[in-house]
Symmetry: C2
Subunit: 250 residues, 2 copies
Amino acid sequence: MLTIAYDGTRYAGWQVQAARRDQPTIQGTLERVLRQILQERVTVVGSGRTDAGVHAMAQRAHVHTRSKIPRERLLRSVNQLLPCDIAVLRLDEASGTFHARFDATTKRYRYRIFTGAVVPPFIRPYVQHVRAPLDVSLMRREAAALRGRHDFRAFARTGTSSRGTVRVITQLRLVRTGDELQFNIEGTGFLHTMVRSIVGTLIDVGRGRLPPGTIRRMLRMRNRHLTGTTAPARGLMLVFVRYGKQGKAG
Amino acid sequence: MLTIAYDGTRYAGWQVQAARRDQPTIQGTLERVLRQILQERVTVVGSGRTDAGVHAMAQRAHVHTRSKIPRERLLRSVNQLLPCDIAVLRLDEASGTFHARFDATTKRYRYRIFTGAVVPPFIRPYVQHVRAPLDVSLMRREAAALRGRHDFRAFARTGTSSRGTVRVITQLRLVRTGDELQFNIEGTGFLHTMVRSIVGTLIDVGRGRLPPGTIRRMLRMRNRHLTGTTAPARGLMLVFVRYGKQGKAG
């Protein structure tokens, strides 16, 4: 089991895609480096995809290998060969049946927006800049409707649901610190672009572009076309992925 | 008066140097952009230099201009033309006699070291990676000797003192958070490479390369050759510069 951090800025996302062989992906870069060290072809199976430009503090993935290289040495070699915007933070031995995607029980995402006049250079790749004044308490009331078990079809890119469109959001908090507003969203799983659609819609409500009650209406109507803006990828970070008992390191 | 944030990674430092015209400097980049907008030559006078690779959250500088462009519009134009690793955070009108260097009364620097196994990609340009175990309480006791008024000659690159080598350190705190150790140093002014020499020497003591009492001996002997390692530039950040009453925005 790999725990991976990456700055997604210059990647076409997590997943290797036949159609876009020209732009690197996180998965593809990891597979290339691991193949070089392990001297065998490996498939890196992630807990889920992240889109082009999305970052991760602790993405999880698994690989199968017959290699006898000690874990500490493997970790060092992998990080020496990886480009500086990807790092494998940990390598843990997992049970033979462990699956990074199917066994994932919880995920947390963070979306950062910066509301001050000028974005400091250090955080530019990691925030969306919103200049319009935002009614944060209205956004909090609006967000409350998302908590719990819902059909999130209205927030998903169509045609992407392999196991239906019902998900559970266990936490959704808006935290304001100085010129920054963070959306912390935790749940059992997320549909494609779901977090960015939620954030974009909440911002639209907060700046008065969409009326209060929009989220509730979207959940009821289950219609993608009602949705607000999809917030840009750069502000989104996969914070962690949790596993049930069978996913514990061996 | 300009308040400036920058990522110093790809710059030859703050100051325009005749000898190194090939590599950009922060000052040179600001002057080029301001000349383009104001249509007049301006000299950007900083509160002090920062070395190649050193960052700033809020460096201060002043310029004289006859331009009548409103401040808000000037701020927007400047940031549109600046590269993404420099941002002017504020523009304030100052009195005609205000001088960004001579009127500075306090500066704070932060030095960040990362002590975990693998540095996350997001903070790589801003930390020094130290793998050796550190005795932080020993470092704190050692650092205590630096507080107050001292001749810091032993911590300065020789031949750089225009106004002597006596300075006052008002605060020096080591803060540990998870895998990070931050050195926060505040004082009336700093000699060239002084903060990095202090941090490098404290790390050498913390990892057992230099004996406890080294700092006290260096202050007493005032001999540059006793000094420990100079910590690398990437970990250093100018946090803020304060001014007395005459430095207040007009």
